[in-house]
C-alpha cells in the first residue's frame, strides 16, 4: 500500500496533427478515487484513451506502479492490472451477458479464480445473474452499466478507468454506481480514475478532483476542498 499506482508526467497526445493534451501531470495514489472533471472538449476522454494505449502519446510518460507503459500493446494492459470501461460502456450487443463477462476474464490463466470472480460479479449485480442468456443489446441502460463494470471487475484490475459512467443513467443508478466504487475502494483497495461531466456525484465519491481545461490540468486538489471551498468551485467549475 501507499505510493502512487498511476503517475503521468508531461503527457501530450492528439489525433493526427491536432494536439489535444498538453503537458498533463497527475498522480493517483493506490486505493483512492480520482475524478477528472471539466467541460466538453477539455480532453478528458482523450486522456483515458491515451492511458489505456488506444492513443499513442506524443510526449511524456505513463507509469503504472512505477513501470513505464511505453510500447505496451493495448491488449497487454489488462494483464498489467488496468481495466478501461469506455464511453458508451462498450457492452458487446451481439454477445450474451455471460459471454461478455467471460470475455473479461479470458486472459486470466487461473481458470478457477476467474470462475470465482464471475460468481462474485453475479452476486454483486443480481439483475445480470437473472439475464445471463440475454444478448447485450436487450439490456436496459442501467444493466449495461452493471455489465460493463462487472466485465472490468472479473479481470480483478488494480486500476479502473471509467469514462462517463453516469451518462444517460437515472440519478438513482448513478448514486448506486458511485456507492459501489466507494465500496470497492474501501474493501478491495481498488484505484479508480473516473471521468465525469456530473461534477457533484463525482466529487461526492472521489478523494481527489482533477480539473481539466483545454487539454491541461488546471487544478488537482483534494475533492473535499473542491466540494467545500466555494471560491475554488466558482473559479474552476463555475457553480
Amino acid at each position: 500500500m501507499g505510493g502512487d499506482l498511476l503517475t503521468v508526467e508531461a503527457l501530450a497526445a492528439g489525433y493526427g496533427p491536432v494536439p489535444v493534451l498538453h503537458d498533463v501531470d497527475l498522480r493517483v495514489p493506490t486505493g483512492t478515487i480520482a475524478a477528472v472533471i471539466g467541460a466538453n472538449g477539455a480532453g478528458k476522454t482523450t486522456l483515458l484513451r491515451t492511458l489505456s494505449g488506444m492513443l499513442r502519446p506524443t510526449a511524456g510518460r505513463i507509469l503504472l506502479d512505477g513501470r513505464d507503459l511505453r510500447g505496451t500493446p493495448v491488449e497487454q494492459l489488462v494483464r498489467r492490472g488496468m481495466a478501461h470501461v469506455p464511453e458508451g460502456r462498450g457492452v458487446i450487443g451481439e454477445l450474451t451477458v455471460e459471454e461478455n463477462l467471460r470475455l473479461g476474464a479470458l486472459w486470466r490463466r487461473d481458470r478457477t479464480a476467474a470462475g470465482h470472480a464471475l460468481d462474485e460479479v453475479y452476486q454483486l449485480f443480481e439483475p445480470l445473474a437473472r439475464r445471463r442468456r440475454h444478448l447485450g443489446h436487450q439490456l436496459s441502460g442501467g444493466e449495461r452499466q452493471m455489465l460493463a463494470l462487472g466485465r472490468a471487475l472479473v479481470g480483478r484490475p488494480r486500476l479502473l478507468l471509467l469514462d462517463e459512467p453516469s451518462l444517460g443513467l437515472a440519478p438513482r443508478v448513478v448514486a448506486q454506481t458511485m456507492a459501489l466504487l466507494r465500496r470497492l475502494r474501501d474493501d478491495t483497495g481498488l484505484t479508480v480514475l473516473l471521468v465525469e461531466q456530473n461534477v457533484r456525484s463525482a466529487l461526492a465519491v472521489a478523494d481527489q478532483g482533477i480539473v481539466m481545461s483545454l487539454g491541461r490540468v488546471a487544478l488537482a486538489a483534494p475533492a473535499a476542498r473542491l466540494r467545500d471551498d466555494a471560491d475554488l468551485r466558482h473559479a474552476y467549475l463555475g457553480f
Binding site: 493495448v74 491488449e75 469506455p86 462498450g90 458487446i92 451481439e94 470475455l103 479470458l106 486472459w107
Partner: protein, 292 residues
C-alpha cells in the same frame, strides 16, 4: 418422379459443397468485412498441393490432409502478408487486392502445373446406389454430406463453446473493446482467415473431382455459386450460408436436369441479381440491422 428425386439428392450433395464454400466467405466477412474474391483461387492452390502429395505418396488421404493444411496456412499468409498491409478505409481496396491475388495465384498455378485439366480422384465410388430400382446417392455423395456436416458442426462448436471462438466473435463485433479486454484482435483475424481458407480448401477437394478436374480456373463457377449462396443467406449469417448453399445447389441441379447444363451460369447470375434487387440483406439478415 425418380428423376426429380435424383436431381434433388444430387442438388443437395452439390449444395453441401456450396454451403461449405459460402460458409468460408461468411467467416472472413464477419471477421474483417472483406468479401474474399480470392477464395476460389486459394482453394484451387490447396487442391494442387493435394495433387502433388498424392502423386508423390500414392495416398489420397495424405493429399487430402495436405490440402487442408495448405488451405489453413495460405489463409494465414494472405492475411499477414497481404491484407494487413492494405488500407481498409475504402472497402474497395481489399476487393481489388483480392482480385489481383486471383490473377497471381492462377498464373503461378498455370506456370507450375500447366493449364490442362488434371484428373482428380475420389476416395469412394461415384456410382449411385440403387434403392428399390431408383438411383439415389453414391458413396461419394454420402462422404460429401458427412464431411461438410462434421466440419459445420465443428465450426459451430468452436465459435459457440470455446474460449478462442468467443475471442474471435468479440474481435469481429467490437475490435476496440476486445483489445481493452486483452484479446489479440489481429491474431483472431488471422485465425479467421486460416479457418475460412481451410474450409475453402475442403470444398475444393470435394467438388473438383465431380466436375471436369483440376485446373487453375476449376473453382471459378463454384465461387460465383457460393457467393450467390452467401448473399442469399445474408453475408453475416453462418446458418444463412448453409441454407443458401443447399438452395443454390438444388436450383442448379433442377436447371441443369430440366433445362440443360449450359444454363447454369445464367441461372446463378439471375438468382444473384434477384436477391440483390429484392432482398439485398439476404434471407437471414439480422434483426439488429433495423435497430438504431
Amino acid at each position: 418422379m425418380d428423376r426429380f428425386l435424383f436431381l434433388t439428392l444430387d442438388g443437395l450433395s452439390r449444395g453441401a459443397v456450396y454451403a461449405a464454400f459460402a460458409l468460408a466467405l461468411v467467416l472472413i466477412w464477419r471477421a474483417g468485412r472483406i468479401v474474399n474474391f480470392a477464395q476460389g483461387a486459394m482453394a484451387v492452390a490447396a487442391a494442387y498441393v493435394a495433387y502433388s502429395v498424392t502423386a508423390a505418396t500414392g495416398s489420397y488421404w495424405l493429399g487430402f490432409g495436405a490440402a487442408l493444411l495448405a488451405g489453413l496456412l495460405l489463409g494465414a499468409v494472405v492475411d499477414i502478408a497481404v491484407m494487413r498491409l492494405v488500407d481498409h478505409r475504402s472497402p474497395l481496396n481489399p476487393v481489388i487486392v483480392a482480385l489481383g491475388l486471383v490473377l497471381l495465384i492462377q498464373a503461378v498455378l498455370g506456370m507450375v502445373y500447366g493449364n490442362e485439366y488434371l484428373p482428380a480422384q475420389t476416395p469412394f465410388s461415384r456410382t449411385a446406389l440403387t434403392v428399390g430400382g431408383t438411383a439415389v446417392l453414391s458413396p461419394y455423395d454420402l462422404f460429401v454430406f458427412a464431411t461438410v456436416g462434421v466440419v459445420g458442426a465443428a465450426l459451430v462448436w468452436v465459435f459457440t463453446r470455446t474460449a478462442i471462438g468467443l475471442r474471435m466473435r468479440a474481435a469481429a463485433f467490437a475490435p476496440e473493446v476486445s483489445r481493452l479486454l486483452g484479446v489479440n484482435v489481429g491474431g483472431m483475424l488471422t485465425l479467421g482467415w486460416a479457418l475460412a481458407s481451410g474450409v475453402g480448401a475442403l470444398a475444393a477437394m470435394l467438388v473438383i473431382p465431380t466436375e471436369l478436374g483440376l485446373h487453375p480456373h476449376a473453382m471459378d463457377l463454384v465461387f460465383v455459386s457460393a457467393f450467390t449462396a452467401a448473399v442469399l443467406g445474408g453475408l453475416d449469417s453462418p446458418p444463412g450460408a448453409v441454407v443458401g448453399g443447399l438452395g443454390v445447389g438444388l436450383l442448379l441441379s433442377y436447371v441443369s436436369g430440366y433445362a440443360g447444363g449450359d444454363l447454369i451460369p445464367l441461372a446463378v447470375l439471375a438468382l444473384l441479381l434477384t436477391v440483390l434487387l429484392l432482398r439485398p440483406g439476404g434471407l437471414f439478415a439480422p434483426v439488429t440491422a433495423r435497430r438504431v
